[in-house]
Structure formats: C-alpha cells, structure tokens
C-alpha cells in the first residue's frame, strides 16, 4: 500500500490524564475538556493545523479515549475527513514483541514511527493537546526550511521572574539555540519553549530509536531528545511567536484562559474570521434570552436558556440558567443547569452538572487570604444539593 507523500505530518500529544484538572477530567481525556462555550481543548491544535494547510494529523492518546474518539469521529468538523491523510487517533497497542503504554512524549512518537513513515514526510510537527493559542504553523515551517534546521522550537517571551517555570532556550542573534535549560533556577534568557517542535523526520526517527534503546532515558522531548541533539551539534533554531498562548494544565489557568476571551478587545479573539477555531456541533437550537435575563460582557452559546443574570462569564451550549440565579466571573460548561437563586462566583461548573436552588459556589478573591483563595469547581456530572455552600478553592 502506497500513501501519497506529505511534506509534514502533525502529531498531537494528547495522552495526559490531566490529573491537575481533577474532577473536570474524570472519565474524559484532558484534550476533551470544554473551553470557551462551545470548544474543547483539542480544537485549538486541530484548527491551527487545518488553517496552516496540514491535512495529516495523528492524535496520541491513552487515557479514557472513548469521549475523545467520539468527539474526533472521522474529522469532519475540522475538514480532516480526507481519504489521503486525515485524522487518526493513535492509542497504544500490543505488538508481537512487547506491548506497553506510552511512557513519555518521545516514546509515544516512537511507538508510531510506522504511522509517520507511511507518508514519507520531510518534517514532523509535534504539538500539545492542551495549549490555547492560534498559530500559523506554515510560517514556522518556512523559517525551519530557510534555516535548514534539524529542529525548530517555537518560543514565547515570558516575564523574567516566571522564566524558571519553563524550558528556556538560549539562542544566538540568528536564533540558533546554544543552550537549553529545563526549569532553570537562574534563567539566561526569557525565551520559553511552547512545546511546539518541527523536526526533520530523518533525524528525529534516528534519535527516537536510540532513545528507546537507552534504559536511562525518561523518553521525553524536553529532557532527552532536545539536549541530545544539541550535544551532537545538530542545527536547532528558535521560532519567535507573538500572540496569545496558554498552557491550561491547572484549574486556575483553565479559568484564566476562558476569561481571556471576554471583553471588547479580548486577549484571545474567538470572533475574528481568519484563523477560526472549529468544533463539533451538536444541533442545538438558538439560545433563548428571557425578558428578566441580564447579560453583560459574557458569551452565551447556542442551545442555552438564560433567565438569570450573567456577568463577565461564559455560558456554554445547552445550559439552563434559571431566574434569579447569578453567575459572575465563571465558566459554566456544556449542558449544566444552575437553578434559581443560586450564586456562582469565580468558579467552573463542569459538564452536565446540576446546581440546585439557593447554592453558593465560590467567592471573590478580595475577601480571602491569598493562599486560601482559588477557583471553586463543581465536577462533571456532579449534583450540588439545595442551599449548599462551596468555598473558594473547594472542589466538589
């Protein structure tokens, strides 16, 4: 069987359980976590691929893949239902010699070498399934080719005081990487790796095989593959990205990123016509906004019914916000119900959750000690009984 050659194959690392997102990811893989009213995290890298002209995508997943599989389907919502390339969900499988889970990011790609080889790509784009950003990978690719690089790593300038939380790239004036520091105590630069890599497939394949044979390795791109390539004098370059980017690995960052799409001129513009983010659609009717409703600086998605008050919040598809319920600075995920006289502040309400009448969930940060306050969370499918009070930082 011969597959038409592709210039680039994208591989999305979506294997994480997202344990820090806890109740929101129970029975669901992290990339399927809802975002922004009608999206899921995986929509961002997938839509970016499509908008950058990449039509062959592998999604590497191993934790609770059912919902993700269902969501991806045959890739139609992203226009990836192609008979040549298209979208493939790649779970770990038993081989004749061995069978194992994906041990690390590099190991996940290693186990799918044969998938990539089918398309004879010049380059492979490695992406993460839980980053919120819009990016044209074709620009990065053009620079990669122009530099005759073996590997190009997208970097973002972060404030110097935060640099020690990231993988930091130290590059010369041409963008050639001299040094890589993983979460350094004393960072030499503020160029943080975004976890977006383009590798020359020939080189990467060789190093993946070598990495797999190394029992000492933790099979990770940042910890093993990149330092090895640097040590062996390969051409590694940075690609400077300017724009919005957020790793939504924690409750607080997921909440913040959702808030970042609000406003007249938001940090992340979901409304602009170019670089649109696509998502699977569930045939909801339009939303109904009742006479008594009040909605300010908020998104309300189709299929929702709003009778209550919503301020600086996101109401996702299929939600019901009853009369006299108040939602402030919160994200209400798809198909959740908030009953009358309940108050939700600085919280995330999970998919299909029900908040019965008169409940109080979360509170404003100004009333609390800094380390005692965080976003309150009601998990997926959870039912909050009447009059229940859920303090900030509490997870239900």
């Amino acid at each position: 069987m011969y597959f038409r050659k592709k210039d680039c194959v994208a591989m999305i690392l979506a294997g994480g359980q997202g344990s820090r997102l806890m109740v929101l990811t129970e029975n669901t893989a992290k990339p399927a976590v809802p975002f922004g009213g009608k999206y899921r995290l995986i929509d961002f890298p997938l839509s970016n691929c499509v908008n950058s002209g990449i039509d062959t995508v592998g999604i590497l997943t191993q934790y609770q893949p059912l919902q993700l599989n269902e969501y991806i389907g045959n890739g139609t919502p992203w226009g990836l239902n192609s008979s040549n390339g298209g979208i493939h969900v790649l779970s770990p499988y038993s081989k004749s010699a061995s069978s194992e889970w994906y041990k690390g990011t590099a190991n996940a790609i290693f186990q799918n070498i044969s998938f990539i080889d089918r398309y004879h790509p010049d380059n492979v784009l490695i992406l993460s399934g839980d980053h919120i950003y819009k990016m044209d990978y074709s620009k990065m690719m053009a620079q990669h080719v122009k530099n005759r690089a073996d590997c190009t790593i997208a970097v973002l300038e972060v404030p110097m005081e935060e640099a020690s939380r990231f993988g930091i790239m130290n590059a010369d004036e041409n963008g050639k990487i001299i040094e890589f520091q993983e979460k350094p105590k004393e960072p030499k630069s503020n160029k943080a790796s975004m976890g977006i890599y383009i590798f020359r497939w020939e080189v990467l394949k060789e190093y993946l095989i070598a990495d797999n044979d190394d029992p000492e390795s933790s099979n990770d791109f940042g910890k093993n593959i990149i330092p090895k390539l640097l040590a062996d004098q390969y051409r590694l370059y940075t690609y400077d990205f300017e724009g919005y980017w957020k790793d939504v690995g924690t409750i607080a960052s997921l909440w913040q990123s959702n808030m970042d799409i609000l406003g007249e001129k938001p940090l992340l513009d979901m409304r602009e016509k170019k670089n649109r983010i696509y998502s699977r659609n569930y045939a909801h009717p339009s939303s109904y906004i009742a006479p008594e409703a009040e909605i300010v600086d908020s998104y309300v998605a189709e299929g929702s019914t709003v009778y209550g008050k919503v301020y600086h919040s996101i109401i996702s598809t299929g939600c019901v916000i009853e009369k006299d319920a108040v939602i402030r600075n919160s994200l209400v995920m798809p198909n959740a119900v908030v009953e009358t006289h309940s108050e939700i502040r600085y919280a995330i309400i999970g998919e299909d959750a029900v908040v019965h009448a008169n409940a109080r969930i979360g509170d404003n940060p100004e009333f609390y000690d800094k380390n005692k306050w965080d976003i309150a969370v009601v998990g997926k499918d959870k039912v909050v009984e009447q009059n229940k009070i859920l303090l900030p930082k509490e997870i239900y």
């Binding site: 922004g36 009213g37 009608k38 139609t76 919502p77 609000l262 007249e264 979901m270 409304r271 649109r276 983010i277 696509y278 998502s279 659609n281 569930y282 045939a283 909801h284 009717p285 339009s286 939303s287 109904y288 906004i289 009742a290 006479p291 409703a293 909605i295 300010v296 600086d297 908020s298 998104y299 309300v300 998605a301 189709e302 919503v310 996101i314 109401i315 996702s316 598809t317």
Partner: protein
C-alpha cells in the same frame, strides 16, 4: 415497509414576496439559525428515511449551497442520500406549474422497486414529527393515500390550501381546497403518504391527461369519483405554516414562546442545519437583550427586544431593535431604531436609521442592501 421521501422546494414562491426573490422557499432562513428545509430533512433523517429527492424549479443555488453533501442531516450515505431534482425540461414539459407535474418529472427517481411507499412533503410546514407512526397508520388504514393533518381550532377565519373532514375511523369524508377552517375539520400539512406503485401509475395517467395539481386534479377529483380512498393521520404537535409574509413573521415570533420551542426542538429528534463554526454570541457592556432567540456569532452592544437574530449579526451601541427578524451577517449601526422589520442577509443599517413596520405588514429589507 421501506419509505422514500420527496420534498418540494419551491412550488408556491410568490406568496413570500421579496424574501424568495433570490432563493427557494426551502432555503428561506427561519428560526434564528435554520432554513425551512432543515425541518423536513431532519424529520426524514430522524425517521430513518434516507432516500430523499428534493424537487426544484428555479433559484436553487442557495439551496444547493445550503445542502452541501448533506452530512449535517446524516444523509451523505453510501447507498442512499439526498438527490436534488432540477426541472426535467425535456420534450414538452417545460417548467412545471403544479406538484403533480413536478412529481412526474421525478418519476424515474420515484419508480425505484427498493421502496414500498413515498412520503411527499412541502418545505413550508414546519414541525418536528416522526414519520414512522404515520406510515404505520397508512398501512393499517387500507387507504390509497394518507394525508397528514392537524386541527387548527383557534384559527377559524384563516384560509388554508387543504381542508378535510373525516369520520371516526379517520377516513376522509370531504375534501375542500383553498377555504376557511370549519369547526371539527382537519387542515392538511402538505404531507402525503402513498404507495409507490400507485403513485407512479397516477403520475403516468395524469401526465397523459395533462393534469397539473396534486390536490385538485388527483386527490380531490379521484376522491369525488370514489376511485380513491383517503385517510387522515392526525398530528397533534406544534405546526408552523409559513404560507405568506404575515405568517412567516408571526411564526418566527412564536419561537419566543417556550411551549412552541419545546414542541419544535426535541432532544431525541434534533433539527439539524449547516454548521458555520461561529464563536458563541458576545453580550457587550451596555447591551440589553430581552425575550430573544439568539444564534451564535453575534456581537451585541445595543438593545434588542422580542426579536429573532440569526448568526453573525452585529448590533452597535444605542441601537434599538424591537420585534424584528434579523438574518445572518446583518449589521445594525449606532442609534438605529427598528421595529417590526425583516432584515434579510448581510443588510447594513446605517447609524441612526429609523424603520418601522407593523406585525401585519413588517418592513422587508432585501439581501445585501444598505439602509
């Protein structure tokens, strides 16, 4: 018992005036995010009827564009699916005037031995109905044709194309055309169930006699000749008939009623439409939205009341929109004031413009205009 479907996309365009100047009634936008044809297509899909022909006459570009590959209705199938049937203008046919003629031009599509019966539907009568019980009723009735109808008790003074009287066994006893609803009578919903072989025979016969209208020349005439047994299948759910501009306007406004929404949009049988990948609707500071149907992709800074907004509408600060239907991509400028206006797609309302109609005679602004 296997059924196929036929949809008429534009037999009676003229009654909807400017709204159907450049489109079929089937592709006329309705209900904040749909086209009229979405309802009947979704009904077919939800009833497991996947072989569907859509009969078109003219102006069908917008319909073709909307349908695409029909994946949205789960109709892009290997062996079945939607077939658009443009006028079969060979020989002496020309463009047809009535449904009987139109059906005859699709006789090759209909005469398919894989199917036992044909469900024929207009695209202007909107409901969320499963055809399975209706087909079971048709089989059990022993009649030649089953007419799907409902009772419109409170609208006695309204004229309808097809009025029926029936006995207790739902056998039709009288059939009247273009007249007023009588107490106890049924109003036809433009849906007929008929055995395929009988239909093919009837089409060939009526073509040879030069007959044109399905209701007048076939159903009524043959019924009066006592050579056709008719049965009524009574549908008791929500039915919206968009027969003219006044009813089209009123039916859009009816969606603001929770019972109408509940009867039309059901979780177990969704109404599907083309996906457009718009962001959710953004309610800006200073916006005041009351009693509205709101599709995705709108950006709202003004005041909107008792209105139906389609996807991607923009309402600027200080604008007042009351009792309007605002179709896709229309922009309403600062301080504009609109009441009882139907704004077609991609209209631009300039800052401060004032337009006012009445519910009986809404102002209509045509596609792409600047006012």
């Amino acid at each position: 018992m296997k059924a196929m479907g036929i949809i008429f996309s534009n037999i009676y365009d003229s009654s909807l005036g400017e709204l159907t100047n450049q489109r079929t009634v089937a592709s006329l936008p309705f209900g904040s995010r749909y086209r009229q044809v979405d309802f009947v297509l979704s009904n077919f899909s939800n009833s497991g009827i996947y072989n569907v022909g859509i009969i078109t006459k003219y102006n069908y570009r917008s319909l073709m564009d909307h349908l695409g590959n029909c994946a949205a209705w789960d109709m892009n199938r290997k062996n079945e699916g939607v077939v658009v049937l443009p006028p079969f203008a060979s020989g002496n046919t020309g463009v047809y005037k009535g449904k009987l003629e139109a059906l005859y031009s699709a006789v090759h599509f209909i005469d398919n031995p894989d199917y036992d019966c044909v469900v024929i539907c207009d695209s202007t009568v909107l409901c969320n109905m499963n055809f399975r019980p209706a087909i079971r009723h048709h089989l059990g009735s022993g009649c030649d044709v089953t007419i799907v109808a409902n009772r419109e008790g409170d609208q006695l003074r309204k004229k309808h194309p097809l009025i029926l009287k029936a006995n207790q066994k739902k056998r039709v006893t009288e059939i009247m055309l273009d007249t007023y609803v009588r107490p106890g009578s049924y109003v036809g919903m433009g849906m007929f169930i008929i055995n395929r072989s009988l239909l093919v025979e009837a089409l060939q016969d009526s073509n040879s006699r030069g007959l044109v209208h399905l209701e007048r020349d076939y159903l009524q005439k043959r019924f009066n000749d006592k050579s056709l047994k008719l049965s009524v299948y009574e549908y008791d759910g929500v039915v919206l008939r968009n027969e003219d501009i006044r009813s089209y306007y009123a039916n859009n406004m009816a969606l603001l009623n929770a019972d109408v929404r509940k009867g039309l949009f059901k979780q177990e049988s969704p109404i599907y439409t083309k996906v457009r990948d718009e962001a959710p609707t953004y309610y800006g500071k200073g916006s005041d939205i009351n009693d509205c149907m709101m599709a995705d992709g709108c950006v709202l800074y003004g005041n909107v009341e008792k209105s139906v907004l389609f996807r991607g509408v923009r309402v600027e600060k200080g604008a007042r929109v009351k009792a309007c239907i605002v179709m896709q991509g229309t922009k309403i400028g600062k301080g504009a004031s609109l009441e009882c206006v139907i704004l077609d797609k991609n209209v631009t309302v300039t800052d401060g413009a004032v337009l006012k109609g009445t519910p009986e005679h809404p102002v209509i602004i045509q596609k792409g205009e600047v006012v």
